[in-house]
């Protein structure tokens, strides 16, 4: 399981790290309880300052994605289901974004549904 940082990206490195770990955790590619590397190890491997990785870890912890404990390190936290209203708002938002993309590209409804089904099938099992 790897993450990559693009130094040329306008997105700050800490945000790139945060977003990739969120993606891996939400897709269960990083299961609950998986231990993450230490801040120093990840910083050394990515050629970043420890503070940059530390900030990403702090933001992940604040968002409830990871748990940091002294002597236990940082592990992926159990997913806390968001309130129903928030779930509905988020899915409506995501569906709207997808619908806009489908219309912009000029795809048919069947193509859009097929693409969605394909992506859903490729996700790891929960």
């Amino acid at each position: 399981m790897n993450i990559e940082v693009d130094p040329a990206s306008p997105v700050p490195p800490f945000e790139q790290i945060r977003a990739q770990i969120v993606d891996l955790a939400t897709s269960s590619a990083l299961p609950v309880g998986t231990k993450l590397p230490t801040i120093r190890q990840l910083a050394a491997d990515l050629g970043l300052a420890p503070g940059t990785v530390g900030r990403a870890y702090r933001e992940l912890e604040a968002a409830g994605v990871v748990i940091s404990r002294v002597r236990h390190g940082t592990t992926i936290a159990p997913a806390v289901p968001p309130p129903k209203a928030e779930v509905r708002a988020r899915i409506v938002d995501a569906a709207r974004t997808y619908a806009v993309a489908v219309r912009t590209l000029g795809l048919s409804r069947a193509d859009a549904i097929a693409a969605f089904d394909q992506q859903a099938a490729e996700l790891p099992a929960q």
């Binding site: 399981m1 790897n2 993450i3 990559e4 940082v5 693009d6 130094p7 770990i21 891996l24 990083l30 998986t34 231990k35 993450l36 590397p37 230490t38 120093r40 190890q41 990840l42 050394a44 491997d45 990515l46 050629g47 970043l48 390190g73």
Partner: protein, 275 residues
């Protein structure tokens, strides 16, 4: 002092320095690389060979320098105290270990390319070292502290204070260098590249564990030897025997641990190759 004596005194350190310079200047041989690959069960390719060469060259340079320094210091010490030109094997071993620790600290391996890729698999000490390599230094530490505390209960003695303090200082240095080795950047590349990087990390940690055993055991032997001379409720004959055995055996055990064939990392670490 006679002429031949003076010549011998000057020639001995010069000879050591010349031999050391020759050893340091020599390139890493193909045989040595093959032995490294065999010991660590890795395949050396055009992509990863430079890492092994850099490691072997750097560590040899510092270890040889350490041995030379150990010989020169021990020879100077004996000259200062006894007016005889002699050097101790203990000084040579101590120099080797000090040089090895400095080499591990200073070693910087190139991480290929400009890509910033990292594996999310943590690198842990127990993935590289067997339990014995962890527990022998801890056991030696516990022994020295136990004996020192018991000795201090009989009366305040300076060697019973500096012995454990020296052990703590050594432990702090070795643990610090060990963490540095664990956090050394992993190169981004093929499976072979990561395999050699893992083998080098394992080798480094074994060298540090061996150093901890040798230095910790040596300090424990000194404290035991002191208690043997001191008496005060201690079985002096038994302690003298253990002290002598410790002084003799610990450096060899340390070298055996430092140069033992290492095992590959366990778990899924090897499969998480940054590509």
């Amino acid at each position: 002092m006679s002429g031949p004596q003076l010549t011998f005194i000057v020639a001995q350190p010069l000879l050591v320095l010349v031999v050391a310079a020759i050893l340091i200047a020599q390139p890493v041989s193909v045989e040595r690389l093959a032995r490294f690959a065999r010991r660590h069960a890795v395949t050396l390719t055009d992509e990863n060979r430079h890492l092994a060469v850099r490691y072997l060259a750097t560590t040899r340079r510092w270890r040889t320098a350490g041995v030379v320094l150990g010989i020169v210091i021990s020879a100077t010490y004996t000259w200062w105290h006894n007016r005889t030109m002699d050097w101790s094997a203990l000084g040579m071993f101590a120099g080797w270990f000090v040089g090895a620790i400095i080499a591990e600290w200073r070693l910087s391996l190139p991480t290929s390319g400009g890509r910033r890729v990292a594996s999310l698999v943590p690198r842990r000490l127990r993935d590289y070292l067997g339990p014995w390599a962890l527990w022998i230094p801890i056991g030696a530490g516990a022994l020295i502290f136990g004996l020192a505390i018991r000795g201090l209960a009989e009366g305040p003695e300076w060697p019973l204070v500096w012995g454990p303090l020296a052990l703590v200082a050594t432990g702090v240095v070795i643990v610090g260098v060990g963490r540095h080795v664990l956090n050394r950047a992993q190169p981004a590349g093929s499976r072979d590249l990561v395999a050699v990087d893992d083998a080098l990390r394992s080798r480094s940690l074994h060298v540090l564990a061996g150093s901890a055993v040798a230095i910790g055991g040596y300090l424990a032997s000194i404290v035991i030897g002191y208690l043997a001379e001191w008496g005060r409720g201690f079985d002096t004959g038994w302690l003298s025997w253990w002290s002598a055995l410790g002084l003799l055996v610990c450096p060899f055990v340390g070298v055996a641990i430092a140069t033992a064939p290492t095992r590959p990392r366990v778990g899924d670490a090897r499969t998480s190759v940054p590509v």
